[in-house]
């Protein structure tokens, strides 16, 4: 564990003991009167914070006179709000009593309004500490898949992104320290997310529309990976981990380290991981059930990365910069293409992606504490991303993304009980793709945004309000419409005419003004319980790939045509031209209802949501087929069998309704034993009938945990039901039960807290196909595997 006294000492450096006489001193204790160490006491709306010592004591100095609200949080306890009046030149004494909460409550960092599992109007989950380390996987989606309401689009263990309440892709924003991750993972399921869980400190998940905080791309939710790359203190501490896993011969090493001198903080993290193709309990391809193959080809991975950060700490805040280099080489499973059907797997060529990203982040927080402004939080990032898809040693397609982003949150002094602030954001990304699978043309996207978020406690009510207006421009000066030979497979239908021999070129510029508004209320109707209601209307500008695509996308096995185009039929021929439909914003109207029990031996959180999305951009199967255009000079490329074709999918818009629930109940049976039950469900359907593809099935599960001083053990049993609510082109997917267990032995060695642990996954060695995966028919989850690892904290 972190050393409390040293943190306290460091914090006391931040808050000099001089000057103003107003202060608050106090003790934080539990309901039995036992002092709580390492509790955080913050003065809301200001930068003032103190941490309790081993006797539960804290001191807050330099306070300005007036009504103040304290926010007290500690691991294992429900958060507490406490109103105080700071009187001129007096030192007040307070005693604060926290109630035990079996559901872990961690605040979302750097948010203008308070966000946590138990307190906010809209649902939030934060994964941190040992739970994060236990659940971390090579990819982000797989890391988060045990979070209630979040599924993974499992892509052979090499790439995955979270699906939040049935929404993924361009609707779920992925951020690193609050800034866009700047990769191309939103474009295709085979594109890895350029962020690493093993060096992160916490991962925050905002379920449901979060456009208010993160803009247009967050209409379905946000995943924010947080680390302390820009250190906010200089306490020397660190964490390291070594792990090996049997299913894919995974070897992982990672560490993070923070230190510093008086007012200069230093941070370093790094990781290295190598895996082989992973083993599965059955033949991976459902179409070849008799195959003796028991590994999924092209799922090996090799990643490494490091981050160096430094910060300058001063009385009123910090400013720092961090540079990260992220490298990953990973197989692209299921990368089969036209004409290759005859190959058996043994000779399957190596297809992999080589990803490099450099990310520079500048983060700063200044507690201005002026008459109007309390805090200014500035963040900027520059990311330079590139990945090349390599087949048979040759670069097939290269994707690049250069993103610059600037965010400025200006928090005002609490006023008439309202706290919050204004947020400004600028983001520019230039995305290019070159090569045979460059299905989207180069484009430049610019976003300018301004948002206001405010909250106020009114008696037993917490009111949270927000609004955001954005200007999003998308420019692409060479959108290509090549002549495409398509045909349907219906008997007697003629192939379409060849195009007229020209590639039509369009200069497309688009300007969107999405506006989002949200209102929420949390009512503590009786001690230990609350009800939250959140209403929001969010708008999203469609992404470049949804609008401008025209080409084969092997990651999804489709020929993708963006919403800018349409297909016209005459005399049995099909021609592609510009669409006559209006390109409009996607709009989500969302209602969220939350019921929580925040204290006591049993805690729970129930969420129900209803999300009506108008103008939902999605792909429809045109029933047409196009040549993959992906010959590889095998010499037999033009035999015109159907194997070398891809189905043509066209982006359309329709009105869609998603509704469902999430439930989480935790029962602290004894001091050491806890049982957690959870379930989630989403139904995603077109308003005019029909279901959306790749919607997660009903899921429920339990986690039993035993956490004593030396030994901790966890048993997870999760049941995924059959999914038979499928889109027209989909097949239903059988249900399965995953059983995972882990046991850890904690000890102290060389002045470090260490743990040696053993993890078992898929203990029943069951065939598990993930309905939300594009590869469900060729890449089931890994079979039974064991991992052994060692980690330490100092």
């Amino acid at each position: 564990m972190y050393q409390v006294t040293r943190i306290a000492a460091a914090l006391s450096l931040l808050f000099p003991t001089s000057v103003l006489a107003q202060s608050i001193e106090g003790v934080v204790q539990d309901s039995t009167g036992k002092p709580i160490a390492h509790a955080s006491v913050k003065v809301k709306g200001t930068g003032s914070e103190a941490v309790t010592d081993k006797d539960g004591r804290f001191v807050l100095r330099d306070l300005t006179v007036g009504e103040r609200e304290l926010h007290i949080s500690a691991t294992g306890y429900a958060h507490l709000f406490h109103d105080v009046t700071v009187v001129d030149k007096t030192a007040q004494q307070v005693t604060l009593t926290l109630s035990y909460s079996p559901i872990e409550v961690i605040d979302v960092v750097a948010s203008p309004v308070h966000m946590s599992t138990m307190e906010s109007a809209s649902p939030v989950t934060v994964l941190a500490g040992d739970t994060l380390r236990r659940q971390q996987a090579s990819t982000l989606g797989d890391t988060l898949e045990k979070v209630t309401g979040v599924h993974t689009n499992f892509h052979g263990g090499v790439a995955s992104t979270p699906i939040i309440r049935g929404l993924g892709g361009p609707r779920v924003m992925i951020a690193q320290n609050g800034l866009d991750v700047g990769d191309v993972s939103r474009v295709g399921p085979d594109h890895s997310v350029a962020t690493e869980a093993s060096t992160s400190q916490q991962i925050e998940v905002l379920r449901g529309p979060a456009t208010l905080f993160y803009g247009s791309g967050a209409i379905g939710g946000v995943v924010n990976v947080v680390d302390s790359r820009v250190p906010t203190d200089t306490v020397t501490r660190g964490e390291w981990l070594l792990e090996g896993n049997s299913a894919d011969e995974r070897k992982l090493g990672s560490f993070n380290f923070t230190t510093g001198t008086d007012n200069v903080g230093l941070y370093l993290d790094g990781y290295w991981r190598e895996t082989d193709d992973y083993e599965v309990p059955v033949a991976p391809d459902v179409h070849e059930p008799l195959s003796s193959e028991r590994t999924v080809a092209n799922t090996a991975e090799e990643s490494n990365g490091f981050t160096i950060g430094t910060s300058y700490l001063f009385d009123r805040g910090y400013v720092g910069i961090a540079v990260e280099q992220f490298n990953r080489e990973y197989g692209i499973p299921g990368h089969t293409h036209g004409g290759d059907d005859g190959h058996d797997h043994a000779e399957e060529e190596q297809v992999y992606a080589d990803l490099d990203q450099t990310r520079v982040q500048i983060l700063s927080e200044i507690n201005v504490d002026s008459q109007w402004i309390s805090t200014i939080n500035a963040r900027a990032a520059l990311t330079d991303y590139e990945h090349a898809e390599i087949e048979a040693g040759l670069v097939g397609t290269t994707f690049e993304n250069e993103t610059q982003e600037l965010r400025l949150d200006v928090m005002h002094q609490p006023f008439a009980g309202w706290s919050g602030g204004l947020s400004f954001q600028y983001k520019a990304s230039d995305v290019t793709a070159q090569g045979s699978e460059a299905f989207t043309p180069p484009s430049e996207a610019r976003t300018y945004a301004m948002a206001l978020m405010e909250e106020k406690h009114l008696g037993d009510f917490l009111v949270q309000l927000g609004g955001r207006v954005e200007r999003v421009t998308l420019d692409a000066d060479a959108v290509l419409l090549p002549p495409l030979e398509v045909h349907s497979h219906d008997a007697g239908t003629a192939h379409s005419a060849h195009g007229d021999g020209v590639i039509r070129v369009f200069d497309v510029s688009q300007e969107f003004t999405p506006v989002s508004v949200s209102a929420g209320v949390v009512w503590d109707f009786t001690p230990g319980y609350n009800i939250g209601l959140s209403l929001s209307r969010s708008e999203r500008a469609p992404s470049a790939s949804e609008l401008l695509s025209f080409g084969p996308h092997i990651g999804t096995g489709t020929y993708e045509v963006g919403a800018l185009f349409d297909v016209h039929e005459h005399d049995g021929h099909f021609d592609f031209g510009l669409t006559e439909r209006t390109i409009d914003l996607e709009t989500a109207n969302n209602i969220d209802l939350t019921f929580r029990k925040t204290q006591g031996d049993v805690g729970f959180v129930f969420n129900a949501f209803y999300n009506q999305v108008d103008n939902y951009y999605y792909q429809v199967n045109t029933g047409l087929y196009a040549e993959a255009g992906h010959d590889h000079d095998h010499g037999d490329a033009h035999d015109h069998d159907h194997a070398s074709e891809l189905p043509v999918y066209l982006f359309r818009t329709d009105d869609v309704v998603l509704h469902g629930f999430e439930a989480q109940v935790a029962w602290q049976a004894t001091r050491d034993v806890k049982a957690t039950f959870f379930s989630d469900y989403v139904r995603a359907r077109l308003q005019d009938g029909g279901d959306l593809p790749r919607t997660p099935p009903l899921r429920f599960g339990t986690q039993l945990s035993y956490e004593a001083q030396a030994i901790s053990a966890h048993l997870d049993v999760i049941r995924y039901q059959e999914q038979d609510k499928v889109a027209a082109t989909e097949t239903s997917t059988d249900g399965y039960t995953m059983v995972d267990a882990s046991v850890a032995y904690n000890f102290t060695f060389l002045d470090q807290s260490m743990a040696v642990y053993l993890k078992g996954q898929n203990l029943t060695d069951t065939e598990a196909r993930v309905h939300t995966s594009f590869l469900k028919d060729i890449a089931p989850r890994a079979g039974r595997s064991f991992a052994i690892g060692l980690r330490g904290y100092f």
Partner: protein
């Protein structure tokens, strides 16, 4: 006032939203010139996909106008007024741009021919767009010689000795022109010279002028040494000066292995080795009759070079064979009283063309005899039998060869047209009428691939 603060902010946001036309979406689509797809758009493997898609850039007499023709149908695509009258026109390394050198204005401009290809990994993607004057330009003192090699263009700026402005070299690619690279890799000299630079990837072989006291040149503005420059970071740095001197250096050419420089007393041959470059010298032969080699032609596909020496009465051509360390009289010499005005290798190096001041084009073909190459006249064409004394002011006969087939183009300022010549049959097969007097022409487009790795 104080009380209204958050409300005012909220009102501002809402107001902004309303002003912006809450939830607005606007799409503007402008259709551009389409790209010709020679075949069905799927067979990227075919070699002939660019045939006939070339362009011809024509520089007018006086250099103030440039015209671009589509060689598919010989139509004029566009004409451009040049703010800086060009003294020379040449093709960029990728054949996408016409390089317009305005020596007296210290300016090099670029005209986008509109036809190029882009490497899409497994295939080269052809583009055909409208020609356009590029915004990009290079400015330094007295750009004079431009040289192409390894997809690079070296611009040699002579500098100005009188004004104390030193010479310099800039090396750019078509990519730099397209991206308007502000600071291309360069060589910065300390004094002016009339020099030359040959780009070779991360190396540039460029002339070195010594202090006048040390220089062996008679005309001190001409350099007498060659330096091997190597790219270090953003600029080229001098690695080594070749140990052979080349008094009154003028003219240079290169192929895959060698760079040959013309000197008063012979030619300096730089040969690429595993570790750098070695130098040797081939002395002038008696057949030159005391004249010096001042212009050299080379071709990637040809092991030997052709040197040109302008004697008092007669122009002499020599064959330079670096691999044999030998110089010999060329198999063909201009007739007495005829002065060649333009020379060119054909696109694959198998032919050499000489255009003289009597409007006669001579086509020579190479024939291999073992290691030795022998040149034979394949035919001659009298391209203008009118009054050659009626040359309009500023007009020049000019020659360029197509890089996608066996064709040459000859600009005739007197007849004000460009003739298309089939080099296999040595016959005029086309005629493009001009409304202006030509002073230079250059072929632009997508070169045929001569390499053996055709798909």
């Amino acid at each position: 006032m104080q009380k209204k603060f958050p409300l005012q902010l909220l009102a501002a946001v809402v107001g902004a939203a309303l002003l912006a036309g809450c939830g607005d979406a606007e799409t503007t689509i402008v259709e551009q010139d389409p790209i010709d797809v020679p075949d069905d758009g799927h067979d990227h493997g075919d070699d002939d996909h660019a045939t006939g898609a070339g362009r011809l850039a024509v520089l007018s007499a006086g250099g103030d106008q440039a015209l671009v023709f589509d060689l598919h149908d010989d139509s004029l695509l566009d004409s451009f007024s040049l703010s800086y009258p060009a003294s020379a026109i040449a093709a960029s390394p990728g054949l996408r741009y016409a390089v317009l050198v305005s020596r007296n204005d210290d300016h090099v401009g670029f005209l986008d021919g509109g036809v190029w290809q882009e490497d899409h990994g497994d295939h080269l993607h052809p583009y055909a767009q409208a020609p356009a004057l590029s915004d990009y330009s290079r400015t330094a003192t007295r750009p004079t010689h431009t040289d192409v090699g390894d997809d690079q263009l070296a611009i040699f700026y002579d500098g100005n000795a009188e004004l104390g402005l030193p010479a310099s070299v800039e090396v750019i690619t078509d990519h730099d022109i397209a991206n308007e690279t502000a600071h291309p890799a360069a060589i910065h000299y300390s004094m002016a010279m009339h020099g030359v630079a040959k780009p070779r990837g991360e190396y540039v072989l460029a002339t070195v002028r010594r202090a006048d006291a040390e220089s062996t040149s008679n005309a001190k503005v001409l350099p007498d040494q060659v330096g091997v420059y190597h790219l270090h970071g953003d600029d080229y740095e001098l690695d080594v000066v070749l140990d052979e001197v080349c008094p009154d250096l003028h003219g240079a050419a290169q192929n895959h292995d060698n760079v040959v420089f013309g000197c008063r007393d012979g030619v300096l041959v730089a040969t690429e080795t595993a570790t750098g470059y070695s130098a040797s010298k081939i002395s002038n032969i008696a057949a030159l009759n005391g004249a010096r080699i001042g212009t050299i032609f080379g071709n990637e596909e040809s092991a030997s070079f052709i040197g040109v020496a302008n004697g008092d009465e007669q122009v002499h051509l020599v064959s330079i064979a670096p691999h044999e360390n030998a110089m010999s009289a060329f198999d063909w010499q201009p007739a007495a009283g005829r002065t060649p005005v333009a020379y060119s290798f054909a696109n694959d190096g198998s032919q050499f063309l000489v255009l003289d001041d009597h409007a006669v084009l001579t086509v020579l073909s190479a024939h291999a005899h073992g290691d030795h190459v022998h040149w034979e006249e394949a035919g001659t064409l009298q391209l203008n039998d009118g009054d050659l004394g009626a040359m309009p002011e500023g007009g020049k006969f000019a020659l360029t060869v197509a890089q996608d087939g066996h064709y040459a183009y000859v600009a005739d300022p007197i007849a004000q047209h460009v003739l298309k010549i089939d080099l296999e049959t040595v016959a005029v097969v086309g005629d493009i009428e001009l409304e202006t007097v030509p002073a230079g022409i250059t072929w632009l487009g997508i070169a045929e691939d001569h390499d053996d790795h055709a798909h």
